[in-house]
């Protein structure tokens, strides 16, 4: 799974690296544009284009019928019934491409969340590191040592929450540069990457998880924790990021969907896709 995740991640890195120092809206526009084109392509290849065209024409024809025969109640009602019928048929034609689109879109969203979902840390900023132990391990009776790389300061002693099998620390960034956090549990070590950057967009992996296919799909930012280490997950609480639209802070996914739809509609004629 990690092999697939790392390849997929590299593709996104390749796309976004040129825009990393630019306004995040540029990167978002690029991502939305590519997604729009990608969705159009899937739609074109997987849908019944002729059928969609026919259905849309029929809907238009029945709309015209309603206008022309607006004095004839029975004809108007019949036309409305036909519009409903063809609408359902249209939904049916759209269902197949949706099925083809849903998995890649989910995977894209997961990746985009690493780029647009979190703020990177900067010098002087503090953050929480959460280590969750596997079931059966008590944080009070487990020997856990945190060794951050230079430039990271541990600000609090470990805070152990027995009930949640969790150990938390508050750390602070003293110096900029690539960093990682080494967690030693009963002598075994796991490494969590930490993103300290001044770039406007950069890849941030908030959670490192245990070997588990479902978890690895959801959190593909880092290689999974080795099975024999009694850690379930290692999480860094990065600040949530918002896209700034005239001072209005919106979630990136709203911007992404709106821009993708705009690009999709803008290019459907150019790519000769009937939506």
């Amino acid at each position: 799974m990690w092999f697939f995740n790392s390849i997929f991640g590299k593709i996104f890195e390749f796309i976004f690296i040129p825009f990393s120092k630019m306004n995040p809206w540029i990167g978002m526009a690029v991502a939305s544009f590519l997604t729009g084109i990608f969705m159009l392509a899937i739609f074109r290849w997987t849908s019944n284009q002729e059928g969609i065209r026919n259905v849309k024409n029929k809907i238009k024809a029945h709309l015209l019928e309603i206008r022309l025969y607006k004095d004839n109640l029975s004809l108007s009602l019949k036309a409305q019934g036909n519009i409903l019928r063809y609408n359902l048929k249209y939904v049916g034609y759209s269902a197949k491409p949706m099925v083809f689109m849903i998995i890649p879109i989910v995977l894209i969203i997961i990746q985009l969340n690493f780029w647009f979902g979190y703020e990177s840390l900067s010098k002087g900023q503090n953050f929480i590191l959460k280590v969750k132990l596997k079931q059966g391990y008590n944080p009070l009776h487990t020997n856990i040592v945190l060794k951050p790389s230079s430039g990271i300061i541990i600000e609090t002693p470990p805070l152990r929450i027995e009930e949640e099998g969790e150990i938390d620390w508050r750390l602070a960034v003293a110096e900029e540069g690539s960093s990682n956090l080494q967690i030693l549990v009963n002598g075994q070590s796991a490494i969590k990457t930490l993103t300290v950057s001044q770039n406007s967009i950069c890849r941030i992996s908030p959670i490192k998880v245990q070997h588990n296919i479902f978890q690895e799909i959801l959190y593909p930012g880092e290689p999974p924790i080795k099975k024999d280490i009694p850690i379930q997950s290692i999480e860094i609480k990065y600040p949530q990021k918002r896209m700034n639209l005239f001072g209005w802070h919106i979630h990136w996914i709203i911007a992404y969907f709106i821009l993708s739809i705009i690009f999709g509609f803008a290019f459907k004629g150019f790519l000769k896709v009937e939506i």
């Binding site: 306004n23 700034n244 639209l245 459907k268």
Partner: protein
């Protein structure tokens, strides 16, 4: 729909690109009203409570080089304060260029003559006039509002009419901000999110040592179960619900079983604090109904983890990024500051003096909190100075006032609360804040050019507050106030035990005394006219003659008859007598709210130990300027006239001051 042709697509792309570029850029900065260039520029630093005697002493000792430099460049004078010398009154004098008769603010506290209940003088809140109810939910059709009760036109409104730009930063007595296109943000008088002057919350397992019925705070008894504490943060009254319950947010504290550290989880936020650490600002949102919520900001302080758990939460300030109440003009000014500096104190008096007074915070902890206030003020001052190009900049600092109120006991060995041990540790708190103020003056001096007039002013000075004068008790002892049940004396507030049918006079507020006037007060007995006039003069004379049997001093130095000292349209709303206390004396804590203790004079054992609600001649303020001051005894309202003269604006008729400079002289 026809597909776009290439040209249309390019147009769309260009427009979209521009929108993206603008949308993602910094927000459009609010432009200050008025023309870009004015021949003269004015910077006024309002340092609340700076005392001329202390200032001169430390200037002469070389501890305040910037003040000294400013004095040498221009002048320094004690500044005549208001009657009474309370901040809302004094700053209103300065804002409007009138005395209280012209602006209608006579005290922190006024009274409702219909029921003798004390009311805040500065602002009044009106609920929605029309509502509809859907089940349990009450929906307002017309919005409620907050009204500024200060009358008279503010000097920046005069500037606005003459196209002179101004930025007015946190001037007291301007909540809600007066309607203007100038950039203003409200200061003293701005409530917390509960609509009060600041209610902190304190969560502890050790309630035995704390009086639960304290002013300015709420004590919550909590239990540590399995190293966890569950608690509620109370919020504003939910007026969207029929029974108007208190909104609240649940939060949880996780404590390490050994280490002195805890994690607080509130909403989706988590933060870890070591014992003795502050959290910085945390945003909290109180849900009212599914579509409505109120946002506030507060700070957590983990005072102690064990053996007893102690967590302090500051009063919940109005969130400047999403203000539930009006705090700035334009509204975007507060938002702009929030975006640049993050959340910041919006409550009028930011440092929590109640928490210190009630031993919830100790001296060191209070100073830490006030340091946050000061740092924030300094950072914002630098920002405002950096973009100040024309017109007027007024900038206000509150820490100078707050620290003198709270730490006077440690420089005054005669004070009942003097503690030599604490004095050795925190005895320099007042001197230090003067030194910090000096640094602010230095920043302003660096900005001054030949066309800039810099004025540094305070609204009043300071003096020790050693003894409390129970004014209502004095009235009772002298036969002007009667009780229903003598044996209940001292037990009730709000005059609940007062026999109004036999009461001629009563006191509400910090300096005000009212005659129980027939036709004005609900149960008035003293007819207006000669009888009242005679009574007023008699009481005033007796008060000035009264001696403290222990010290032989006169607690009341001056008893001003309102009609002798106030002019203007609102003079008739004033208390009948305004008391000016002697150095060391002030009205008691009980009297302003209508409580009548047994003794006329009591020692002040509170930490609130310095004060200024005395006679104006005891505590003048200061004015320093980089120009020669020609007025021998300038007053607050003279500064207003001075501002208008600098900008060539004719003084309106209702302004009573005159310019302190001779600007026509070369």
């Amino acid at each position: 729909m026809s597909p776009f042709n290439r040209r249309e697509f390019l147009k769309l792309g260009l427009t979209g690109g521009c929108l993206i570029a603008v949308g993602g850029s910094q927000d459009i900065i609010t432009r200050v009203f008025g023309k870009a260039e004015t021949p003269k520029k004015v910077i006024i630093l309002g340092l609340d409570g700076i005392d001329p005697h202390l200032l001169e002493t430390w200037m002469n000792q070389g501890k305040l080089p910037a003040f000294q430099k400013l004095r040498s460049q221009g002048d320094f004078r004690p500044l005549r304060t208001s009657i009474p010398p309370q901040s809302p009154v004094a700053w209103s004098n300065f804002i409007t260029g009138t005395n209280p008769g012209g602006h209608g603010i006579f005290d922190f506290i006024h009274r409702n003559p219909e029921n003798y209940i004390p009311i805040f003088s500065a602002a009044a809140t009106e609920g929605a006039k029309r509502t509809i109810s859907v089940g349990d939910i009450v929906l307002p059709i017309s919005g409620g509002k907050v009204n500024l009760l200060r009358k008279g036109k503010a000097f920046w409104q005069h500037l606005e009419e003459n196209n002179i730009p101004a930025t007015i930063f946190k001037i007291p007595s301007n909540y809600p901000p007066a309607v203007t296109k100038q950039r203003t943000i409200s200061g003293m008088g701005t409530p917390d999110i509960l609509g009060s002057y600041g209610i902190f919350n304190y969560y502890t397992t050790d309630t035995a040592k704390i009086n639960e019925d304290i002013g300015g705070g709420r004590i919550h008894e909590v239990y540590v179960i399995g190293n966890q504490v569950e608690a509620k943060l109370p919020g504003p009254i939910n007026s969207f619900k029929k029974d108007r319950p208190e909104a609240s947010i649940n939060f949880k504290v996780f404590i390490d079983p050994i280490h002195p550290v805890a994690k607080i989880r509130i909403h989706d936020q988590e933060f870890i604090l070591n014992e003795g650490e502050w959290s910085g600002w945390k945003r909290v949102r109180f849900s009212m109904i599914p579509t409505q919520s109120v946002s506030g900001i507060c700070m957590f302080y983990l005072k102690q983890v064990r053996p007893e758990f102690k967590l302090y939460v500051s009063p919940i300030n109005i969130d400047p990024g999403d203000a539930a109440l009006p705090i700035s003009t334009p509204k975007s000014y507060a938002e702009e500051l929030e975006k640049r500096f993050g959340a910041f104190f919006t409550k009028g008096l930011p440092a929590d003096t109640s928490a210190l007074d009630n031993d919830v915070l100790d001296d060191g902890e209070f100073l830490q909190q006030d340091d946050f206030v000061l740092k924030e003020r300094v950072d914002m001052f630098e920002y405002e100075l950096s973009r100040f190009e024309s017109g007027l900049l007024f900038y206000y600092v509150s820490s100078t006032d707050q620290r003198q109120h709270m730490f006077w006991r440690l420089i005054d060995k005669e004070h009942p609360s003097y503690d030599p041990k604490l004095a050795s540790k925190y005895g320099n708190a007042i001197e230090n804040i003067y030194i910090e103020a000096d640094k602010i003056v230095d920043k302003a001096l660096a900005k001054v050019d030949k066309d800039t007039i810099l004025m540094v002013m305070s609204d009043h000075g300071f003096t020790p507050f050693r003894y409390c004068f129970n004014l209502n008790t004095w009235l009772k002892e002298n036969g002007y106030l009667r009780l229903i049940n003598e044996w209940k004396q001292g037990q009730d507030s709000f005059f609940l035990n007062t026999d109004w049918s036999k009461t001629q006079s009563y006191a509400i507020g910090l300096n005000g005394l009212y005659i129980n006037q027939k036709g004005r007060e609900a149960e008035g007995i003293v007819p207006q006219g000669k009888t009242k006039e005679t009574l007023v003069r008699e009481i005033a004379h007796k008060l000035e003659s009264f001696k403290d049997p222990k010290t032989g001093e006169h607690p009341v130095l001056r008893a001003f008859v309102a009609k002798d000292v106030y002019t203007g349209s609102y003079a008739s709303e004033a208390p009948d007598i305004i008391l000016g206390y002697n150095r060391g004396y002030r009205v008691s804590w009980a009297s302003p709210l209508g409580r009548i203790p047994k003794n006329i004079i009591e020692p002040n054992t509170e930490k609130w130990s310095g004060d200024h609600c005395m006679a104006p001649e005891v505590i003048p303020g200061i004015v320093l300027a980089n120009r020669k001051i020609v007025l021998r005894f300038p007053a607050l309202y003279d500064l207003t006239a001075t501002i208008l003269e600098i900008f060539g604006i004719k003084k309106p008729k209702d302004m009573i001051g005159q310019s302190i400079f001779n600007l026509r002289r070369p």
